[in-house]
Amino acid sequence: MCGIVGYIGHRSAAPVILGGLRSLEYRGYDSFGIATLGKNLEVWKKKGKISDAGAVPGNLSGKIGIGHTRWATHGAPSDENAHPHLDCTGTIAVVHNGVIENFLPLRRELEARGHVFTSGTDTEVIVHLIEEQNGADLAVAVELTLKRLEGSYAILAIKAGEDRIVAARRQSPLVIGLGDGEVIAASDMTPLIDYTRSALILEEGDLATITPKGIGVFQGGHPVTRPLREVEWTAEDVRKGGFRHFMEKEIFEAPGVFHAAVKGTTFDEVPLWLRDCTALTLVACGTSYHAGMIFRYLMEEYGRVPVRVDLASEFKYYTPPLSGPVIGISQSGETADTIAALKAAKARNYPTIAVTNVVGSTITRIADFTLMMRAGPEISVAATKSFIAELGVLLALIDMRVGGSLRGHLSGGAQYIETALLADLSDAVALCAPAGHIFFVGRGPFFPAALEGALKMKEISYIHAEGYAAGEIKHGPFALLSPETPVVALCTRGPAYPVMVSNIHEMRARGAPLIVVGDCADLVIEHVADIFIPIPATHPILQVVTASVILQQLAYLTADTLGREIDQPRNLAKSVTVE
């Protein structure tokens, strides 16, 4: 996923494009670039986020320009791999969203003919192919080039000496907004809205030539007309797709995300030293730390490998004696503490592994090996789908350790998450919303799941919530229980089931209202709980995941009832890049 923007008109193009890219940042944010056409073709491209870009350099003065924000697919994020890409002569610039499937043979062919490639991207073949049609008019050259490409694309191209932009699309979105003597083209409607309300949407295989005075659309070389439409919706609406918050949207993406994470972590991909290790250390912060703790319980039980889990922020300063590889988990790949911890491990000569969601993020360059979460951009500050993706990757690692015997359960996991999403939590939310304190309890792998449930509740509903191992309640927190403190207990059938049931009875005796997440059709629990939330009775490794999704929903719905700022909770930032 990438975002592209093109502008031609009476304003200076670069600031318009930069603003447009900023609104497309959700489509990718690892690097960006702009090319403008004034007297000469000028390019400015950088690795990093657009929001940190600062002002546009003075040499980008043209009134025609194209820009790109990148979510790396081919080639790590770097200044070189950022779009726009130029041809050998530096007169043609191209931005591209999509994947060119046959780029390798094309690249070999072009290199054999003497073209010099400066990046590792698939996009660069496009600009060199256009260059080969030298002398031809840009639209003709693009048309001829597209015939050679397989895969998906939305392309914008400019050429020195031609006052226009050539656009084309196949399978990737592209819309063109027609303003007053200016035209802006983009991956979606959001960048258009500040300049115009009338837009046309290109169809599959369309090629458009854009000048300030108008747009010509061609299909297979013949001119066609595409009707103009009035845009009414706001940028936010388009991106949320009907969901009220990104968090809700991301919670509902969990089944697909879990499936992709499990499927993406394959046996051939993981190095032998990780598969055969005799001990493991995990370092992470916040939600990722809880994923790590769940991993510890399950890996030790099923994989019989001792696992140590440390808070990254502690690890750096109080490094324990290590044995075996060190895994750092960070959604953004930019978490300062986790990066520092991995560096510390590396300095002691231990192999390091990163688990992250962002291709080419800082952590991937430090670690010896990277496991991708494949969750797609996460926008809500409270991590939900990335937690599920982390569990997916980590559970797949356990499966590898046990020789693939859990694979059958894991591949059915998405189904169970889907079922968990259907749970009716309205009664539980009514109980939690007015509470001042909520306790989350569980045993075994459900203890970190309870910690995570409490963290989510704290983060977005601002209700004081604490997670405890159920057995620890008696060693102190019991004093806090009262009819005003709801307890959320995770109690599924397993080795700790009988003792967990008696814990629940004890808490109930203190008058605390009980919300229990348990196996469906568990009559004992259903009887004792004030509110019973059933989850599918399946393998415990999946029940941890489904219970976590239930707790995410509970936190979300509670915060929503309280009218909180869910996607941007107070005082919090998406990725913590300071220690």
Binding site: D188, G242, E253
Partner: protein, 385 residues
């Protein structure tokens, strides 16, 4: 031109299949019905699409978010009727518009027929008209529309696809869309009755078998995944990525098989079969004329025909389905029906279970060696011993 697609209703008559999603999201040919509606609308050249969601709206919005075309989403808080659903979307309508049900299959050609009309309804003859809005016409113009009449005076029914001018919104008020159009006609305006081409609705859950067949007739050959050299494929078959087809398996199209399926050796599939992603079919099993949704496991030595199997269901070995043609009780009445089995989501059945013209609820557990027929296992979560 704008299009309003109504996908808010649950589709109570096709229960138990609608536990986790509305009828519009139920898969035929491995794609939600709603996908075909949006595809037809887009092919007819309409780009401004509004979808009204309600029942299980998050699942619908997630599906819409996965589409290339940006669509606007409107929530209907209470699903009281199609007229009310249109009312929810009225504030987004600025132009001549099309209203379509999101849970009926319709082809592009039919939509194209009503695009030029000021006010029109697509109509088609149906053998059981009392389930629809019955249309009376005179000289190609609609004189009366009766919503689900007890005694239908004609076999001509409304497909629910209307092309209406913006001023028709002034007639909103009735909960049902047919009544809105009736009120519009009563104000003296003309509504043309245009015959529809391919249109199909699943009234009862077993109708998905026929709907699936209709959709599969348009399937193209596209085989990905791993095929054993000894497997044989006839006709138009699509097989998704990551699916493995064991040796001596015979697949005769039209058949659609999703991604990451595991089809064991010596299996016979088709014609008229959709198998969702992540399914496993044991060896020596035969499946014909069925819809098998995602994540289903069918044990070895089984035989499924005229069956609709909900997601995540696991059927033991030697499962049999017997097609019978008897009047079947459905929501308070008895209707003529010919089918094998409709099985809900996450059902677990033991070995050697025989399903004979039956509807099985969601999460039902069935002990091995039992005969399940009629409506006995309809209640969700029940156990059959």
């Amino acid at each position: 031109m704008q299009a309003v697609i109504l996908a808010a209703g649950e589709g109570k008559r096709v229960r138990p299949l609608t536990r986790g999603r509305p009828k519009a999201l139920l898969p035929v040919g491995n794609r939600p019905i709603l996908w075909y509606v949006i595809d037809a609308v887009v092919r007819a050249g309409i780009r401004d699409v509004v979808v009204v969601v309600g029942y299980r709206k998050e699942q619908v919005m997630r599906f819409l978010g996965s589409l290339d075309l940006p669509v606007r989403v409107v929530v209907q808080p209470h699903q009281v009727g199609t007229g009310d659903a249109l009312c929810c979307a009225a504030h987004l309508l600025t132009d001549h518009f099309l209203v379509l049900p999101g849970d009926n299959y319709i082809d592009t050609a039919s939509i194209a027929r009503v695009l030029g009309e000021t006010a029109a309804v697509l109509v088609k003859e149906h053998p059981s008209p009392s389930n629809f809005g019955v249309v009376l016409t005179c000289g190609g113009l609609v004189t009366e529309i009766l919503e689900k009449p007890v005694a239908a005076p004609s076999f001509l029914v409304s497909t629910g696809v209307f092309s209406l001018p913006h001023e028709a919104l002034s007639c909103l008020g009735s909960p049902e869309l047919t009544d809105v159009v009736r009120d519009y006609i009563r104000t003296g305006r003309e509504v043309t009755a245009v015959p529809a081409g391919e249109w199909a609705d699943a009234i009862y859950p077993w109708d998905f078998v026929a709907l699936n067949r209709l959709v599969l007739s348009k399937v193209h050959q596209e085989v990905r995944g791993e095929m054993s050299r000894e497997a044989v494929i006839y006709g138009n078959v699509t097989i998704g990525e990551g699916t493995s087809i064991g040796p001596f398996t015979v697949i005769s199209g039209p058949v659609a098989i999703g991604e990451d399926c595991d089809i064991g050796p010596h299996v016979v599939i088709g014609p008229g079969v959709s198998i969702g992603p992540g399914c496993r079919v044991g060896s020596f099993t035969c499946i014909t004329d069925s819809v098998v949704m995602e994540g289903v496991e069918v044990g070895p030595f089984s035989h499924l025909c005229h069956a609709v199997i909900g997601q995540g269901t696991r059927l033991g070995d030697h499962t049999g389905v017997v097609v019978e043609s008897r009047p079947f009780p459905c929501r308070g009445s008895v209707v003529p029906a010919t089918f094998g089995a409709v099985i809900g989501d996450e059902v677990r059945s033991g070995p050697a279970v025989t399903f004979a013209q039956c509807v099985v609820g969601n999460s039902v557990a069935i002990r091995g060696h039992t005969l399940v027929n009629g409506d006995i296992a309809r209640k969700d979560g029940s156990t059959v011993v």
